[in-house]
């Protein structure tokens, strides 16, 4: 009995072994090509719950059932399934995932297999983004995707970028792409931590974007953040240190002695009434020769440090996965006192609660702070340290004899520019932003193939801008201190209810999507703006200590309600089609047009799935795609359709102190205001060769924007200048190609490369009552207060207009020049109708265009054993820039540009810098001319519009450039016990730029708010060259 019992016990104990015929297998996983062990690869038994990961030598062991199938997978490699078939030892070679065709791509409201996509979508992997030294996703996107133009509007830490997909689309509505993070629409890229990004998809054509309806017209960028991927805990730490130096580009300034001589020279020319007294004595000039005066660039710019620390933990435990990361990022600006820092935290949880309910929670919080004096083009340029350092006389010292900051001398040099050092370091300005993003979804698996996702998202922003301009600053000097504090609270809420149904009947695959969605946003801000401070020291911490106090507040809210349906159908993976329709209702539009409808459709033919190509060794994928769709742009402010009466400061109507508040009727109502809509057609084809080692994609598209939101002009006599209305249309056509190699091998060397080229041009078709619309750059930058950028019916978008400068009048051309009242050495302009006058009516013409002919990006990645080298070239070709800041810099009276020394003289005629004639000789010249030409008096016939004398192509430059944007060299150390990955890298950003441009940087757009202003350089914050050292450790 005892034996029996023992036997039974044995049987009982062994039963599982017998029943499941367990066996121990072991093996090693290596990388194809290099033979390096793959660490942390996961090995699981298919259909069971057991699994393991490889150790530091790539070895594993696992107990599996007999004849079990095991799946070996590792991120970035193709997964393999192996039937153990009784074997116990395995040598597994993993091949790198060369853009796996089964890859799933995130699309609007769901995912799709890459091979099933019929729209134009560019994908970027998170890993590619983190290779760059930048901690900004928008900047990392530059040069990475065809058809995507990323402009750094300024080089400031935390500065603005413009992301434009497939050219301009809208004038008033803006051209910035819609950002969607984990299904949550809106938000910006600057504040996100790039290390958290799993993937990024750029949706370009209407079949992809139309399901975002009224927000989709400018393209959509979908971002998916990381989830826990590994059953083994992964703890990663990275640190990055960078050193930045300012890049002067084409800006060259005079030294003090030259400047003093030039100033004396110019002063001496004004000799009509008297011979003027020289401003600088010879002794002073000699002294400047010795000391060199002040180099204001050296004074206000510095070598700046950047550091980043990042820690993340991720794991998959049973039904729960999590990814948690924290980052500290601190970037000093190259301009003194400027900087940006960010603390951010992300927690992503996903869980299968039951087999019919899943949940996911993503939370992202960040605190960002921007420091430093304001320098945007909307502030008074005189107090802008960037502008001041480019225009303040080098003959002035930093401090005067009494130790105070020097002031501009009214007798010479720039009359109003403020001391650059004071402008940079004296303002105390801090712009803080708290970002709180929460995103929760529940996935209900209702029936097989039928799921419902209910998603709720909230983004809460709390911003606090505080600044104090003390009496040593430009504005604070006159006003005895200016303290402001603006706090705003912005709330964005979104609820999306997404019903998805998938059905496969034989070779017919259906996918149906239905969405109901509500988005609501509200902003409330209050501003305190005080002047005339009794105590300077306390600044904005004690705003009450001031004599002049102003407060204001503003509030606006908007709502968007949407319904959407989409059907995808494919037959045998060969013929693919999709249709969608979205209805959007928005509060911001006129009473009569609250709702808009946005349909789209697409067709795809995967030729490589046809019998004649299937299994072809050369062609692994070939697909033709075509799409059509309507998208909208609702980017106008709230309450634009109502007639509003606004407060406009106050005026001392009673006389004496005090004032009464002014209100003014400032808009007319427009109950018919509605969406701007864009119809886009796209044709594309993809081909992949040699097992996807080579990939090529080409697209052509055409976009027609109608009902364009524009300011429709009202008669000035009505007391208003314009009303926002749907007038006008534009058409954009363009093409994109991208070419990719995925891991071509030359022995141990592996090369991956991606080249993308794109081009688009936009024609203005209709502008309502206008024949043209004109844009000026304001008076900032000391240049052009009159319009120079034009939208003209029938002409391309981005035209610059002005007088065409054709060099200087030369010796021997006196007779011809005299007809225009000019002399040799004066500027010469094209007289289009040859009437002997240069005037606005006849000679004003197109002198350039700010749209590039070609946008290019070329990234390369070389690996050799444990070494990796990658670099990225990017650039634009064929765009013009209006260099507004050069006008002031080359001013014959006050400019600091070294080019002034090349002034035209009879000895030096090969130059573009006009002569400066003295007034006495000018009068003598005129009298002599009048004596010999009594029929035609010597009068200048250059009749420029009021203050429009600078609107000439002399200031227009070729903005083409090619830049080695980034180069990085890294080394992966062999794994040591406990450390699965250790990587050291060194990289350099903005390595060199090939360009003829004479400003700081050709990648400029001082005006980011309006596409109409692109290509205007009023000396924005310069770019820097940064060298970074980085360390990554993964446990």
């Amino acid at each position: 009995m005892k034996i029996k019992l023992n036997f039974l016990l044995c049987v009982f104990l062994l039963l599982p072994l017998v029943l499941f015929a367990q066996q121990q297998i072991r093996g090693k996983v290596t990388e194809s090509g290099t033979g390096e062990p793959v660490i942390g690869a996961s090995i699981i038994e298919v259909g069971a719950s057991n699994g393991t990961t490889t150790d530091v030598n790539g070895n594993f062991s696992l107990a599996v059932r007999k004849n079990a199938v095991i799946r070996i997978s590792f991120i970035g490699f193709l997964s393999q399934e192996i039937n153990t078939g009784g074997r116990t030892s395995f040598d597994i070679v993993l091949r790198e995932d060369a853009q796996s065709l089964d890859e799933v791509v995130v699309v609007g409201y769901g995912t799709q297999k890459r091979t099933e996509i019929t729209g134009a979508i560019s994908s970027i992997k998170g890993d590619d983004l983190t290779k760059l030294a930048t901690q900004r996703i928008d900047q990392a996107l530059q040069g990475r995707a065809a058809g995507v133009l990323v402009l750094n509007a300024d080089g400031a830490p935390g500065g603005n970028t413009v992301i434009q997909i497939r050219g301009v689309n809208s004038i008033l509505g803006g051209s910035d792409a819609l950002i969607v993070v984990d299904g949550f629409q809106g938000g910006d890229l600057t504040s996100l931590n790039p290390n958290d990004i799993e993937s990024m998809e750029v949706l370009k054509d209407a079949s992809a974007t139309a399901i975002y309806g009224a927000k989709g017209a400018n393209g959509v960028i979908l971002i998916q953040t990381k989830r826990g991927r590994s059953t083994k805990p992964r703890i990663s730490y990275s640190a990055d240190f960078g050193v930045s130096n300012v890049l002067m580009g084409g800006v060259k300034l005079m030294n003090a002695a030259d400047y003093a001589r030039e100033t004396n020279f110019y002063n001496s020319r004004n000799n009509y009434d008297y011979d003027p007294i020289p401003i600088f004595t010879d002794e002073e000039i000699t002294e400047f020769e010795r000391t060199g005066g002040t180099n204001w660039m050296d004074v206000v710019y510095r070598q700046a440090l950047t550091q980043t620390h990042q820690l993340s933990v991720e794991r998959k435990i049973d039904n729960l996965t999590f990814y948690v990361s924290g980052q500290y990022y601190n970037q000093e600006g190259v301009l003194l006192a400027s900087g940006y820092d960010r603390y951010s935290l992300r927690a992503n949880f996903n869980s299968d609660i039951t087999n019919w309910l899943k949940f996911g929670l993503t939370w992202y919080g960040a605190l960002e702070t921007r420091y430093g004096a304001a320098f945007d083009p909307n502030i008074d340029p005189n107090g802008n340290p960037i502008y001041a350092s480019l225009n303040y006389a080098p003959t002035l010292p930093i401090y005067d004899e009494e130790g105070n900051y020097s002031k501009a001398n009214p007798l010479y040099g720039h009359p109003t520019a403020w001391n650059p050092l004071a402008s940079a370091i004296e303002p105390d300005s801090k712009r803080q932003n708290v970002i709180n993003n929460a995103n929760l979804f529940l996935d209900f698996n209702i029936l097989k193939g039928l799921t419902l996702r209910v998603q709720g998202s909230a983004r809460l922003n709390n911003a606090l801008d505080a600044s104090y301009y003390n009496t040593k600053t430009y504005g604070g000097y006159t006003d005895n201190g200016i303290g402001t504090s603006t706090s705003s609270f912005a709330k964005n809420l979104q609820n999306s209810n997404i019903l998805t149904y998938k059905l496969d009947i034989g070779k017919h695959n259906f996918q149906v999507l239905g969405v109901g969605e509500i988005q609501y946003s509200e902003t409330f801000s209050t501003k305190i703006s005080n002047k005339d401070f009794i105590i300077q020291e306390t600044g904005y911490y004690s705003l009450g200590g001031s004599n002049i106090q102003k407060t204001s507040s503003s509030h606006n809210e908007r709502k968007l309600v949407s319904f959407l349906g989409k059907l995808n159908y494919s037959f045998d993976n060969r013929y693919l089609t999709s249709f969608s329709l979205r209805a959007d209702g928005s509060s911001v539009f006129g009473r009569n047009h609250k709702w808009g409808y946005f349909p789209a459709g697409s067709l795809g033919w995967r030729v490589s799935e046809e019998k004649f190509l299937k299994g072809n060794k050369l062609i692994s994928n070939l697909m033709f795609r075509s799409s059509f769709g309507v998208t909208g742009n609702q980017a106008i402010g709230s309450y634009q359709t109502l007639s509003r009466i606004a407060q406009d400061s106050a005026y001392p109507w009673d006389g004496g102190d005090g004032a009464i508040v002014a209100y003014t009727v400032n808009s007319a109502s427009n109950p018919n205001l509605k969406w701007e809509s864009t119809i886009q057609r796209n044709l594309g084809f993809d081909i992949a060769l040699l097992k996807n080692q080579l990939e090529f994609t080409a697209e052509v598209f055409r976009k027609n924007t109608t009902d364009m939101l524009l300011s429709r002009e009202l008669p000035l006599s009505s007391g208003l200048t314009s009303i926002t209305d749907n007038v006008g249309s534009m058409e954009t056509t363009g093409w994109e190609v991208s070419f990719k190699t995925n891991g071509i091998r030359l022995g141990n060397l592996r090369w991956s490369s991606s080249l993308n080229l794109s081009s688009s041009s936009t024609i203005v078709l209709d502008l309502g009552t206008y024949k043209f619309l004109a844009y000026s750059a304001g008076s900032s930058g000391g240049g052009v207060g009159v319009p120079f950028k034009y939208l003209t019916v029938g002409e391309p978008f981005g035209q610059f207009m002005g007088f065409k400068y054709i060099g200087l009048w030369q010796e021997g051309e006196e007779e011809e020049a005299g007809r225009y009242g000019q002399r040799p050495g004066n500027a010469r302009y094209e007289d289009v109708n040859a009437d002997g006058k240069i005037d606005f009516d006849n000679d004003w013409q197109v002198i350039g265009n700010s749209t590039p002919d070609l946008i290019l990006g070329w990234s390369n990645d070389f690996s050799y054993k444990r070494w990796n080298l990658s670099f990225l070239f990017q650039g634009t070709i064929g765009n013009d820039i209006f260099n507004v800041s050069r006008i002031q810099r080359e001013s014959a009276s006050t400019g600091v540009s070294v080019d002034r020394l090349k002034r035209w003289t009879y000895e030096n005629q090969n130059t573009d810098i006009p002569a400066v004639w003295d007034s006495k000789s000018g009068v003598a010249y005129r009298d002599a001319w009048n004596a010999t030409h009594p029929d035609q008096p010597y009068v200048s016939t250059y009749i420029f519009p009021t203050s429009g004398g600078n609107l000439t192509s002399r200031w227009l430059e070729d903005g083409s450039y090619i830049r080695l944007k980034n180069i990085q060299l890294s080394y992966n150390f062999p794994s040591i016990q406990g450390i699965s990955n250790l990587r050291l890298s060194v990289s350099c950003t903005n390595v060199f730029t090939l360009t003829k441009y004479k400003g700081f940087d050709p990648e400029v757009s001082s005006y980011t708010t309006s596409a109409a202003h692109y290509g205007t350089d009023t000396s924005s914050y310069p770019q820097a060259r940064t060298v970074n050292f980085a360390l990554n450790i993964t446990l």
Binding site: V454, S587, A646, Y651, G656, P715
Partner: protein
Amino acid sequence: MKTIKYLSRKTTLCILLIFLLSGCELIDLEENPRGVVTADNFFNTPEQVESVLASWGRYTFKPWGRTYGYGPDFERHTDQRGGNLLIQLDYCATFFTKHYNSIKDLNFAIYALQAGQVPVTEDQYNLLMGQLKFLRAWNYFQLVRGWGDIPLLTEEHVPDYFNYQLTRTPVAEVYAQIILDFQEAIKTLPIKWSTDKKGRPTQDAAKALLAKTYLTMATAPLNETSYYAKAADMAKEVMDAGNYSLVQDIDKVFSFETEYGPEMMWSFHANDEYPSTDPRVWTPLDGWSDNAPSIPWANAYPEQPRKGAYLQLYDKNGVHYNTRKRAPGIKKYLYDTKENFEKYFTRINIPIIRYADVLLIFAEAENMSKGGPTQAAVDALNLVIDRSNGHVENFNHPRANIDMWQDEFDLKVLRERNLELCFEHDRWFDMLRKRSILTDVRESVRPNFDERIYLWPIPEAEIRANKNMTQNPGY
């Protein structure tokens, strides 16, 4: 498994139901602005009506009182340096725009007041209406002189104000409206405001501006010479009323003590909180050269106490402008403290109408309407001349007398206007109404003279958006 499915269906249903139920309210897309004022909820109190008077200041002080210093060169060709007499399209478009901006607000307020929308007593009503009409008249007076026939919008257009594309109203009809408005202002404005409202326009200010209107009507372009008598009578009313008088000390004509009388009748106001323009613009000697008086003009200015009072002849170190070889400054506008000047800040007012102007209007109108100078005309002119000479005989700048010819006296009055009212926006309009631009401007710019200059170009934007609008001849 079945339960689960059942449950999940139920859950789904619930969620859909919640969504649909709440949807009814959520789907409401009407806008409900909370921080924005619309025409429906404004102009309901006297204070709200008064805010439009302030809006007049916001719109017009900037072009006339602040950027004027840098902007259009009304006087560049005569009393100031620079200028070329070339008037291009959109010249002075800002002025055109700003006057109509203000007229719009005034019309909305007049409309609301007339419609009984504002709960006011009759006195309050009259005071408000008087000020509104006074300002509207002044705006149109500036416009009609600059541009000639112009669209005339009044409170009658209000309900559909932004949909009109009006044709040009002839100059005479515009003047008729101006006269009506000033007359109503004269009827309703007080002789004197309380001290805390000392800067508001008085009955006499309206009369003075009406006199100026009549005088302008008597000259080009209307040349209705019958209006000389009306101008003289209206000016005489102001003189006889005795509410205003000349400041006898020439150095005190422009000063903080005299900003609101007895000579100053109405001006653009500034104070600590709402300052005037950067004072450096008024002094090439210690500041910039934007607004520099012409040196030949300054050298020709008769030597008398007024020259040193109105022009800054010496820089801050006491060096004469001819020694400094720079243009003199405009001392009229430099009466704020040295400390404020050093801070690039000034609180000075910019005059619009003052008593000296009334005397000169009277002298000119009386002489022209009576066929030659009368004793009253001579006396009025001599009041200004005597003060300019510091009340002593001055051979550089002799008094007028009854024996002068009509033409001779007229020229002397205009010369006196130039000297007395220099840089007060008057010179250009005097040249317009006397059609004397060609003879008055510097010789060097004469080749650029063109008859069209007597009217400024209608701004292009007005022509583009108003299909009934035509451009002035020659542009």
